[in-house]
Symmetry: C2
Subunit: 522 residues, 2 copies
């Protein structure tokens, strides 16, 4: 494992300052020195990326697919070395990390399939109408083209699937863009191993140098420098509202503003309707105890807010949920900072007016103990701060007097990644306003399930209105994620021989195209 900055195919360590990795389990630093990237090294990475952008942007889908699949293979080849390091740096169980590695590799292969098939470029062709009156129509052809060097901020809670070779990197590379990764300070070694795997894959599949670089540093220093760099063309980020908003603001204040796709978490409201609680309150409590504590609550889709009408079935549910949570042993959180932050944020909620602690699981130092609290709708509505995400195994129940109050609570919510409706089908007819209200707030709405667990598939939308993300129009999970890193380009009266294959006569790539208003592959 080489902890230095990786600039194209070259390792570099110009600055004296280093970062170290910390093990939450050992309560000690792990081996490895990670020199902080200097401004010169940032410039060097961008110079290479900008140079690579043109060549790499013109590679075929087949070539990019080979590169992405090779990254997946190289990650698998790291085997236990990677899993052990990731476990050391994140305290996540090996089984979970093995699953996450599978997700990472599958994502890379999914995007490989997508670009190999090729229809993702949204080719549209309007052929010329020379004899149209009063004016002839030109030949007009459009496709999506890469946006340029993309900066990827890695996420604390997914050291593999949302990090160095995660969904952001995979989709940005698939779209034809060079990527510069900011290594996460919590898993520097994991990052170094995966970055080397990407580097090797790039070399061995003949990709231009600079298609990938990885730099070490802190958010306020390196992060801001990356966002403000004139050669950066888009930003992908997964993390806190505070950090994501700072990146968004910096990107908008550049002389040339650039798009920021920041997924900043959510409290993922769950609305529990009375008949469902009556019919299967105990089972729902069991299910939700698992969802709240999954990954020690360190998921952006963690259900942090339950909304229900007061009644005997709710009282029973609350007791059952508290008891179910008590059965789940606490576990180490990702790092001491996150644990400290969890405890502080939980305490802050519990200190608010009208908030009542319902259950709390005792935990050792570094561990996240689950907690359940409740508050009246009235108190919730009066204190907008109660909407702030508590990152960890915590959930707050809002008790509503009636359906009107419940709808007012939903109306008052900020944008969310998900909302879940727990209901019997018979309850839905009277819930039209509720459903419409929920849909206006979220990117994904679930029926009788849990929001944790985000499928990587074409129909997935992992996004939502601000503050869930900085751009509600794109997803960060699933094949749609590739659309973040392209822009349309129209070629008018372009010489046939110079057209990109996706737009040529005869459709040599055999992709889906809209030709004169008709979809087809002919």
């Amino acid at each position: 494992m080489d902890g230095r900055n990786l600039i194209g195919q070259r390792y570099s360590a110009l600055a004296d300052d280093i970062l170290r990795s910390f093990s939450p389990a050992l309560q000690d630093v792990l081996e490895g020195h990670f020199p902080i990237a200097s401004p010169e090294e940032v410039d060097a990475a961008f110079a290479l990326a900008t140079q690579a952008a043109r060549t790499y942007g013109q590679t075929s889908g087949a070539e990019r697919a080979r590169f992405l699949r090779r990254i997946a293979d190289e990650i698998l080849a790291l085997d236990d070395l990677l899993l052990t390091r990731a476990q050391g740096e994140s305290a996540l169980p090996l089984g979970r990390l093995r699953g996450e590695r599978g997700r990472t590799v599958n994502q890379l292969r999914l995007f490989a399939d997508l670009v190999e098939e090729g229809s993702w470029v949204n080719a549209v062709i309007d052929t010329a109408i020379p004899d149209r009156q009063p004016l002839p129509r030109a030949d007009i052809r459009r496709l999506s083209v890469p946006i340029g060097p993309v900066v990827v901020f890695t996420a604390s809670n997914f050291p593999l699937a949302f990090s160095t070779a995660g969904g952001d990197t995979a989709s940005a590379l698939a779209a034809g863009n060079p990527v510069i990764v900011k290594a996460h300070e919590s898993h520097l070694g994991t990052n170094a191993l995966v970055a080397a795997a990407i580097q090797k894959a790039a070399r061995e599949t003949g990709m231009p140098e600079g298609v990938f670089s990885s730099l070490n540093g802190t958010g306020p220093d390196l992060g801001q420098r990356l966002v403000r760099h004139p050669q950066a063309k888009a930003i992908a980020f997964t993390g806190s509202l505070r950090a994501g908003k700072a990146i968004f603001d910096a990107a908008n204040q550049r002389p040339e503003p650039i798009p920021v796709f920041a997924e900043m978490g959510s409290i993922n409201p769950v609305v529990l309707l009375p008949q469902a609680l009556q019919a299967r309150g105990e089972a729902i409590a069991q299910q939700y105890a698992q969802s709240v504590t999954l990954g020690v609550g360190q998921f952006c889709t963690n259900p942090g807010l339950l909304i229900a009408q007061e009644g005997p079935e709710l009282t029973l549910f609350l007791t059952a949920l508290g008891q179910a949570l008590a059965q789940i042993p606490p576990a180490l959180m990702l790092n001491p900072g996150i644990c400290e932050h969890y405890e502080g944020a939980r305490r802050a909620v519990l200190d608010r007016e009208g908030v009542q602690l319902e259950a709390q699981v005792p935990a050792q130092a570094g561990e996240g103990g689950a907690a359940l609290a409740s508050v009246t709708a009235r108190a919730f509505l009066q204190q907008p701060d109660l909407q702030e995400e508590v990152f960890g195994p915590f959930t707050l129940l809002v008790k509503c007097g009636d359906a009107t109050e419940r709808n007012a609570v939903i109306e008052a919510l900020g944008g969310q990644l998900t909302a879940t409706l727990i209901a019997e089908e018979a309850e839905l007819e009277a819930a039209t306003d509720l459903i419409a209200g929920l849909q206006e707030k979220v990117g994904r709405i679930l029926f009788n399930g849990v929001p944790t667990g985000v499928e990587v598939s074409p129909a997935m939308h992992h996004g939502g209105p601000f503050p869930a993300t900085t751009n509600a129009q794109f997803t960060s999970v699933g094949t749609g994620a590739i659309q973040r890193f392209v822009r349309p380009l129209t070629l008018q009266n372009w010489p046939a021989a110079q057209l990109p294959p996706a737009l040529r006569e005869g459709n040599p790539l055999g992709i889906w195209r809209l030709v004169n208003g008709v979809w087809g592959k002919d």
Copy 2:
């Protein structure tokens, strides 16, 4: 013609201040009083729009199509009343305004056809896989949903096609969003007539009140208030970089930032290669004299920058272009402010170091006289201000010593709506770098044509990297424009009976959908 603010179906005039329309031809105010919208009236328009959003967002494609087509019919029914008023306020020739009305009506009908057909919602379905290992896959379905109330800023240079019922309003309404229009101060009467037509169409097709409002006011006052209003969900703007950037900044600084689709103009570089100039320099000069002066140069795709290599064929072309421009009589500009601005901006360019006046057409007060200037590549590269748009019939030729210098000029350009390559096909093989460089800067690239004239069709992309627009990922012209005003929503395990028609089993709408990775209409 009622000049008051139109709030849903109600006329309103709470404030004492009024605006008046000015006729560039008469050099006098036109009839009609246009009271400025008060803060209370702005709130009332947004309250109605927010209320209408839910109902209107759930109308079918067929219902919206009926509404849009009725707007087109009502605009045509205004007949000479509208054309005469638009001519009075803009000084544009009647023939041009008749054509623009045709474009406006066609746009409305195009979006009507689009939403009636229905595939534009990008329906994607991944059906459940209950027995998948290690975890089952849920049923996941995605479609595009309306974004909420859209504020439309009308454009000075298209009183019909980019204004009250122009492409922004048509696409926002088609997507299912209420629209609040800020009337343009230059054509308040035209706006009032078209707003009344939309109001009538809404009433007679049974659309919810608040689906459309029209307010009078100034940019810095009403404009900023509209952008900052908490119930605004997206902004569409066509106009200057200064005004567009102010809107973009205000929208990003809101507690809840919202997307701004601002099309802010461009200098639309035209690269002339030597063989083309040799073969048909005279014809190109004639063609470009027409393009530079079309609409008195008041088009966002006006070719404001010519780039060519020095040589005898360029000298001949320059003379021919100057002579061709001199043949075209100057005409009144849209308003005295624009004319004054044109003269000032042109003078500023001519005062720059190394800029040489090649031809200038004398003009009366209020008219825009065409002008042609030249500058060396060296001087152009040293003075980035020379890239600022001169809105009017002006073009600047950059003389390059060789291809390397020409590519450096292109590399130095900011984002553009269009670029045009004038070349013989034989010249293209050696122009690979040139073409790649141009494509990185623009939203549309043309071969042997003129950038003026933007086709309204599926393959059109009218957009481009900053500063051409604030969002390079969307177009403001063509059917793609509808995608600006929607966001994806995923429904997971949603009860079959509650699914929107676009996502139902059996595809009752008969639209194109991606089902388990396969495109089809079944």
